[in-house]
Amino acid sequence: MIKSFRGGVHPKDSKSYTSGKPIETLPLPELAVIPMRQHIGAASIPIVKKGDLVKKGQVIGEADGFVSSNVHASISGQVIDVGSHPHPIFGKCEAVVISNDGKDEWLEGLPLIRNWEQLESAQLLKIISDAGIVGMGGATFPTHVKSTLQKDKHVDLLVLNAAECEPYLTADHRMMLEEGPRIVTGVRIAMKVLGVEKALVGIEDNKKDAIEKMTAAFAGLPVEVVALPTKYPQGAEKMLINAVSGRIIPSGGLPMDVGVVVQNVGTVAAICDAVTQGIPLIQRVTTVSGGSIKSPKNIRVRIGTPFREAIEFCDGFSTRPEKIIMGGPMMGMAEPSIDIPIIKGVSGILAIAKGEANTGKEASCIRCGRCVNACPMGLNPSMLSILSERGLYEEAKEDYGLFDCAECGSCVFACPAKRNIVQYVKYSKAQNAAAKLKEKRG
């Protein structure tokens, strides 16, 4: 049965660049720049100093509190700097720079083969937390926080987000094809951690081979693979949960409010590695693609490797890119440079050519209603953008559901006037937050 949601858009999926390309492993970088902020929450505290020798898998940054995450060395070598370095999201951020000694040595005791089925749920959660696992779809919310059950909420369902609805990205797709057992084990562990009996896997139907592979891989387990129509943003948490389970997260709520926890394909694979082999999160699979990349590829890459090396591994640029994007083209972040490290949340590295972007000069809204029809949250993006332009931030929040907006970008994609609605929305949200802060301080 095909299930979906109201609204959404159909961007050209552009996945054929890489959907048929097996995952290749990138050579180790000479220098790994490992930022202390690769997750939502408090920045990790570096526990190594300049000159220290570190091994692969060693903790170099400790979680600062519960909503934070450990950071590990992704290569073995010497720490040559602990300080401020370029970061794909924050511009600059404290990072540990490791010079590769070429040995690629594991920390003593790793890998550590374990039989996860004998472990208790609390032990599993501790392993996940220690391994520095965060949501690898791009949101990078610490997985152990998401998986810690709150007292007043009853969780009975795990949803695996394998929709991969962002155009160009095929990393999850390739992992499902090539690394089924890792994903199956990861899902089973995640289910045990949450104590749920049932899991649903949502995959968009432009990945028929992955649907077949996963259905076969999960055979005999209480896990159902659900084919979803290819429509953006099918992988948005609220849309995905609604499509696979029919449950509706209330405005302002979280998946836990309807008894669901969502995990991404890359995340469950990382959970599998951490639990069964003791390997912390030091590498990830990502897609390097876009019209300006000469040979687009899916690559397995160590955290801290510069974007530049990933792009060079794909034979560099064929034309001058208009934009370099971390993540997908709909919600990813445009980067000013390629001399930035790959962090845990980099689901894709895209070099978009000029012709692909279809940008244009922004005009005033002609009220065509395409944004209203595209909005999966049932908002009026036209009105939100106009209110933001006029400085009516509070009205946007009170009367037009400003904070329901997930910034998926469907409205901007559909807008014939090329209005930067997401930008207006972000600005309004920031203004509301500032006003709230001011009120608090009196």
């Binding site: 560099g316 934009k323 279809n358 005033s364 970008g409 014939p416 972000k426």
Partner: protein
Amino acid sequence: MVDTTMNDKIFNVSMSPHIRDNESISKIMWTVMIALTPAALFGAFNFGYRVVMVLLIGMGSAVLFEYLTQKIRRKTITIRDGSACLTGLLLAMCLPPTIPFYMPAVGSFIAIVIAKHAMGGLGFNIFNPAHIGRAALMISWPVAMTTWSKMTTGVDVVSTATPLNILKQQGYEKLIETFGSAPDMYQALFLGTRNGSIGETSTVLLLLGGCFLIYKKYINWQLPVVMVGTVGILTWVFGPAGLFTGDPLFHMMAGGLIIGAFFMATDMVTIPITIKGQVIFALGAGILTVLIRLKGGYPEGVCYSILLMNSITPLIDRFVQPVRFGLRGEVK
């Protein structure tokens, strides 16, 4: 050879999303004009080639006034987006074929300078500019605006009055008599071989253009269907010889209803933004049209009914909002 030297300059870092649909304002406007072209050309065939001049003056003057307004106000010139040209075309299509050549230009001036730019330009005008232009001409030169021409098609059968005029002044019997028989009348209305404004006569060509816009998803089918349907049902119910004796088919095809419902009432700037709101708009416009046609002093009411509904569009938009996800039907 690996070449990543092309990053000497800093890349564009504008906000997500980084890819967009290839729709644009000008694409929409030009598509609507293409959809109107068959009906406009039929006007030329129906009333003689004089009307081509009227159409060209309407379009040309609208574009010129937009250029001048923006030039004087030192704003970006946007004549290439096609919106002014479309306004000029719509206005001219709603004028009688005998109109003096200067009048379409006056109408365009009112439409573009007053109804559009004085209101803030494209996207901010409350009223449909083409209809404001037409309404202004109607008030200023009522005789010129209601003088109909002899037609090049079916000249002998149809007098120089529009079907709605005949109905208003001489009654339904006389109307049928003018066309010969009821089927002949329906055929004339459907094909467009009847008197009326330049571009409003051919039901079939206007429907074709309308369906094209629906197919292109530039307009929602609900709006024209509800508006035409409302007129049909009400005129059938409130017939000349008591309840349920009306001729809905005639009323749906006569006058400017088809062009109004498919091309004027669907002017996105001046109608509600949600489909639900558009249905309310269409219902209101349909009711007002029938009220004016059956009870009012004018034979036709499409233009005024759309303008009246334009005025309450902001109100409709305020109360009819899309259903927010996770709120189970509540607005707010």
